[in-house]
């Protein structure tokens, strides 16, 4: 099993009453409420926590990117990736993911990726995403061309990583008279690409067609079976048999010495789920042209208030359904067995701390998880046959899968 630490890095000290009064806390929620003094303190605390995560045995540290909202203090994923490349020694740096369509220069992004991969001595996993709707608004990337830009930037990225320059690129969205970066990734043929998502069938199929692992972001456990069925069908259609090595799962997991303390801290996970922050209007979340055409009516009804927003389930309900796992190490290990048996991922992202969990509690959570939970998860992973892409040394993509490992397609191409 590949076990990674994650925190969304919330700006947890903004005045919540202002957010509640505004009725939203993203896109247009004023950054006059961002306190750089507190921001500096929070960044330094996250740095200490990441270092501890590596020290106690996590295999990776996951970072991400969001804009114009207090729920995430990472507006540029390559910044934290660069810092981790320099200050850690062993843990892999897991970017989940780079919002490719929002970048106007995928070439410059490829240069950054190459630098991070070399500085980290080949520890980078460069995940890619379309980026949520509001990210397109915040960075002024046309949502109607989101998928076009994603596809083209991906193709350019892979070509830049794997082919010698100079060459030119004449695409619909990107044109370069010279692609010839003097920075190339250390890993060959290129750093692994993983694809996170929250259950878009198109993205699942896209990831499967490329043989990129799909990292399911906190999808309710009972839906993961449907999710893998979509992935597996698309994988078989292009000629390979998918397994746990293609599957990742991000889950909120908080560990403390006592159940009482663990539950107290884990309640902070609700902070992200609309009770205090992370609230955006539906027309920001899915601007016209961004979503799947078959969901147009649903999203338009949501945007115009004809369907009420779906509130997150209660804390107690999420504990019962294992969407949040919290407790002492033994309690958490027992709950995670259910998760692993049901979802069968080989890549597990443990979302450890969120909301206003204080630095000492976050450190203790990481420490206990590393000392007691991670070893148990590794044993469980071996017992359940959950072998990750690094352990199996799987090809980085379908394009780099030896032909003799592929069989004839078993289904209709999707």
């Amino acid at each position: 099993m590949f076990l990674s630490y994650f925190t969304e890095q919330p700006m947890s000290t903004y005045p919540e009453d202002e957010g509640l009064a505004a009725g939203f806390t993203s896109v247009l929620f004023s950054n006059k409420f961002f306190d750089p003094v507190e921001g500096s303190r929070l960044y330094r605390e996250r740095l200490a926590e990441y270092r501890l995560a590596e020290e106690v045995g996590y295999d990776g540290i996951m970072v991400n990117e969001h804009h114009n909202a207090p729920y995430c203090m990472q507006p540029r994923i390559t910044v934290w990736s660069s810092i981790l490349a320099a200050v850690t020694e062993r843990a892999k740096i897991i970017q989940l993911g780079n919002p490719l369509p929002t970048y106007d220069s995928p070439l410059q992004f490829a240069e950054e990726i190459a630098m991070i991969d070399m500085i980290s001595e080949g520890r980078l996993v460069s995940g890619i995403v379309r980026g949520a709707g509001q990210e397109q608004i915040c960075l002024n990337a046309n949502p109607a061309y989101n998928r076009e830009r994603f596809d083209e930037a991906h193709d350019l990225l892979v070509k830049t990583f794997t082919e010698d320059g100079p060459f030119s690129w004449e695409g619909e969205h990107y044109q370069y008279r010279v692609v010839n970066p003097w920075a190339r990734p250390l890993q060959k043929p290129h750093p692994r690409i993983w694809v996170p998502g929250v259950f878009s069938a198109e993205t699942l199929e896209w990831a499967a067609r490329h043989r990129y692992p799909y990292i399911s972001l906190n999808t309710p456990l009972h839906l993961t079976g449907q999710l893998w069925e979509i992935y597996d069908n698309a994988a078989r259609a292009v000629g390979y048999e998918p397994g746990p090595e293609n599957r990742g799962y991000l889950l909120r997991v908080h560990v403390q010495d006592t159940e009482e303390k663990a539950l107290e801290c884990a309640r902070e996970f609700m902070w992200m789920q609309g009770q205090f922050t992370g609230v955006g209007h539906p027309y920001w979340v899915s601007p016209s042209g961004y979503g799947s055409p078959d969901r147009r009516l649903l999203y338009t009804k949501l945007a115009n208030g004809l369907i009420p927003r779906i509130n997150a389930a209660s804390f107690e309900e999420q504990l019962a359904s294992h969407e949040i796992v919290a407790g002492t190490p033994d309690q958490v290990i027992a709950a995670l067995r259910v998760v692993l048996e049901t979802c069968r991922p080989s890549i597990l992202m443990l979302w450890g701390n969120d909301g206003k969990v204080g630095h000492p509690d976050a450190m203790r959570c990481i420490e206990l998880t590393g000392q007691e939970v991670l070893p148990a998860l590794r044993e469980m992973g071996d017992e359940l046959g959950l072998h990750d892409p690094f352990a199996l040394d799987t090809p980085v993509s379908l394009a780099y899968t030896p032909p003799d490992q592929l069989r004839a397609s078993t289904g209709t191409p999707v």
Partner: protein, 266 residues
């Protein structure tokens, strides 16, 4: 929504231009007036079309990618839509037409006037987009709901209801979202204006009427005033008691202004 098929004497036509069909509704007799709709589309054969068709041939096309017209996947700017509409006018064998553009359609009409002035007997820009306002800011539909945006186009909400009714039907929501998607495809950035348009407007030797709404919450008045300054033969009319959707809120007043601007009436 008004069902154009139900309007007496109104016909629906489809014309192939550059590989895609453009739908239009036709009614009336006399000099041809082509009416280009707002970014939120043309909901039907409106009272404005009907009144104007008593004095002219009114043709109301759906811009490419809007309403019942095919989406040209390659079109990425309102200027592309203007090119298509110029070819559409040529395909009708109209001779010269009076071109009326409302809001976003006013921007397309202005672009068309700079590239194919020979097609135009007259130009009417109604609360037109297309220029960066010197004062104020164009209301950004991306940041609000479809319904909020269309409501903002009316000063009197009774006038909104007369056109759209009181229910947000699935049909209406889908039409608005398709139209918003096409607007996004061509006008996302910069939003609703073109820095490359003003220098060309000086060459538009077409009699031009610019109409501004007294209470426009979508396009600042300064946009209309800037058009009047830039186009040599332009004059300004301001419609009182009216929001941005002049064609829907004060149809008789606007029909009167357009009729007075037709060839032979000026």
């Amino acid at each position: 929504m008004t069902a154009p098929g139900g309007a007496e004497g109104v016909s629906e036509r489809h014309t192939e231009v550059a590989g895609g069909a453009i739908r239009s509704w036709w009614g009336g007799d006399g000099p041809v007036v082509v009416v280009l709709h707002h970014s939120f589309g043309n909901p039907g054969w409106l009272p404005f079309h009907r009144e104007l068709s008593e004095r002219s041939t009114v043709v109301a096309p759906d811009l490419p990618g809007f309403g019942g017209s095919a989406q040209p996947a390659w079109a990425r700017h309102p200027r592309d839509l203007a090119l298509l509409m110029a070819w559409w006018i040529r395909a009708q064998d109209f001779g010269q037409v009076t071109l009326v553009g409302c809001g976003f359609g006013g921007w397309v009409a202005a672009e068309l006037s700079t590239m194919s002035p020979e097609l135009l007997a007259g130009l009417v820009l109604v609360a037109p987009a297309g220029l960066l306002p010197k004062e104020g800011r164009i209301l950004d539909q991306v940041l609000i709901s479809h319904s909020e945006y269309v409501h903002a186009a009316f000063e009197d909400q009774k006038a909104y209801e007369a056109v759209y009714g009181t229910d947000l039907t699935d049909e209406l929501l889908l039409a608005w979202d398709m139209n918003r998607e096409m607007t996004t495809r061509v006008a996302w950035k910069p939003y609703m204006y073109n820095r490359r348009l003003p220098p060309l407007l000086a060459h538009v030797q077409v009699p031009t009427l610019v109409v501004a709404a007294e209470s426009d919450r979508i396009i600042p008045r300064s946009c209309a005033e800037q058009y009047v300054e830039l186009i040599p033969q332009a004059h300004l009319e301001i419609v009182p008691n009216c929001g941005h959707a002049v064609d829907m809120e004060q149809p008789s007043v606007l029909a009167g202004h357009v009729a007075a601007h037709l060839p032979g009436a000026r």
